[in-house]
Symmetry: C2
Subunit: 339 residues, 2 copies
């Protein structure tokens, strides 16, 4: 039997799936991946299919299994060659029990025992985790986290997802819902977050909320070249903010500074909590490049304590959209190992 691992990133719109080969049947994953780099887990084929969540969980899982079957076949294997699979979904969920309780972007998913359903369909052990945890573990094993044992990870998209690796292990918490780092409150009684809290980091510094703050400012009459964008397209995107920043717009600079400052405060808070050696940012917003990264570092240096010199590295992710499927497969490798 071959030793095929499947990594799945289940989102509200798309399901990304990767089919991976491991070079040895029973390698201690972290060590081997660290030694062999990305080659420890070789991506054979990947695909992306639409979720069509409205068809219901049973249909979605069947479609997923069919797609996996196709991928495995294209790679020259069969379903029986799969030794384990990993799947990431947005939190919160009952990750310990393997159940999606409910999902804001997949409303038909209520109390779905996703881990068991996949395990039954694929006839292999399945590991179920938060999608940001999976992406974090992907970057940790094969991307920006290579070579360190302690890492913190943020994805900057519609929301802010998080992941924590401590002493080489993903920190999962009592119910698998640790590292919901976008919901760390940094401005008590501040902006209302979708989660119901006020002042979450996500309410300021996610890509969506960066764009939203820019829109609000322009609508409130602040002078900006972004006004033309709003007038023409009816909305401002995060990408617009960074483009206008690069072109010298003052409001875009102010909005970016607020985002960078919120992210720097998050970095400081995480440094004092799990003391990582590397903090990795991922997600659509990192396309802004060094103009964002350097502002985060500036604010970090400005706001950090002086009790000791801190050397934590703040950097961007390197695996792009594949981080989730790589991480899910790497997590599957661990569950397989435990068997």
């Amino acid at each position: 039997m071959a030793n095929i691992l499947i990594g799945i990133d289940l989102g509200g719109t798309n399901i990304k799936i990767g089919c991976f080969d491991t070079h040895s049947p029973r390698c201690p994953s972290r060590l081997r991946l660290a030694e062999a780099g990305e080659a420890g887990l070789k991506l054979l084929k990947k695909t992306s299919i639409t979720t069509d969540a409205d068809t219901g969980p049973q249909a979605v899982v069947e479609k997923m299994i069919a797609a996996i079957g196709g991928l495995v076949k294209e790679s020259g294997f069969t379903l029986s060659d799969i030794s384990a699979a990993g799947i990431g979904t947005p939190g919160p969920a009952d990750y310990k029990a393997g159940i999606i309780i409910n999902s804001t972007n997949m409303p038909t998913f209520k109390n779905v025992p996703i881990r068991q359903m996949l395990s039954d369909g694929l006839r292999c052990p399945v590991v179920f985790d938060n999608d940001a945890n999976a992406a974090c573990f992907g970057e940790f094993t094969a991307g920006a986290g290579k070579g360190v044992d302690d890492m913190v990870f943020f994805t900057l998209g519609t929301g802010i997802g998080g992941g924590i690796v401590s002493e080489g292990k993903l920190l999962r918490g009592s119910g698998g819902n640790a590292a919901e780092l976008g919901h760390i409150i940094i401005y008590p009684d501040g902006r209302l977050c979708n989660c119901g809290q006020k002042g979450c980091a996500e309410a300021y510094a996610s890509a969506s909320n960066t764009a939203k703050r820019a829109t609000e400012a322009v609508q409130a009459g602040e002078k900006s070249s972004l006004k033309k964008v709003l007038d023409k397209y009816g909305k401002i995107t995060c990408k617009d903010v960074y483009e206008h920043l690069k072109a010298g717009d003052k409001l875009a600079k102010k909005i970016t500074d607020e985002t960078a400052k919120a992210l720097a405060i998050l970095c400081i808070n995480m440094l004092h909590t799990t003391e990582p050696t590397r903090i990795v940012f991922a997600g659509g917003m990192i396309a802004a490049g060094n103009i964002l990264l350097n502002r985060i570092k500036d604010y970090f240096n400005e706001q950090i304590w002086n009790l000791k010199k801190e050397t934590v590295e703040i950097c961007f992710a390197t695996l792009g959209e594949d981080a989730g499927i790589i991480g899910a497969a790497a997590l599957a490798q661990d569950v397989q190992k435990q068997k």
Copy 2:
């Protein structure tokens, strides 16, 4: 040979030392302690001596070793019966290397290889950790954390110390300085903290800063029965604030509410970071009792998200001042086990 463990809590003013017996020579500490409760680690004798830090590290360590020798002898054993020792000191320090780099309350301690010095003096392995980590581990193994695997711990004293237990293990971070939870920033650009940061939780909600905020408010002319205390004694203590709160003073209520709210935000932030099942408060300030605890819970319930129902328990520590020496001894048990 007997199996004696030593737990040390090294502070700027006093050194607390405990001499413990373990019931079996090679017990897996967590399991055994969980099963046997406090009896897994039996406190034979304890003492407290003055630190006299101005005499220098060599003299302090010699005095410490003499005191340990005395304690062990009183317990019916000799130094050679000690199988391991644990020592906690205030952070930050280079806990991995075993070195106190410098210490705000022991100015003569500069680059002191405390772990090696103690290990040479006692001829046994020594574990060196943050004092709040040690107290956290004490509560975890024998106090308010019994029966859970994931716990967060805060000490409310001059500052706010922290400790995190995740999946039964103390979370130490890359250099042993994780869980400096008092320095989580909750009010960016807020009150200046002793650490150099602005808006740390400690700058609002430690016992000292609760008292300081009350003093500032009275000095600024706010009406309060605390004014008489300030006029008479030249200062207001945290204890005064809670006494006047209980007597119905409005300013004392406002100050307490601000403290409770800051602590509730800390609880929420830690829930979203390490997802503990229990959050334990310790330190002098918990003498305030339920009037404080209930306000923390009120603010927690008011400010927490609504994405899922949270069931984390928020409670007070139970071991009092012994937590540090118990935890240091329990940590020593782990180092001994590894040998």
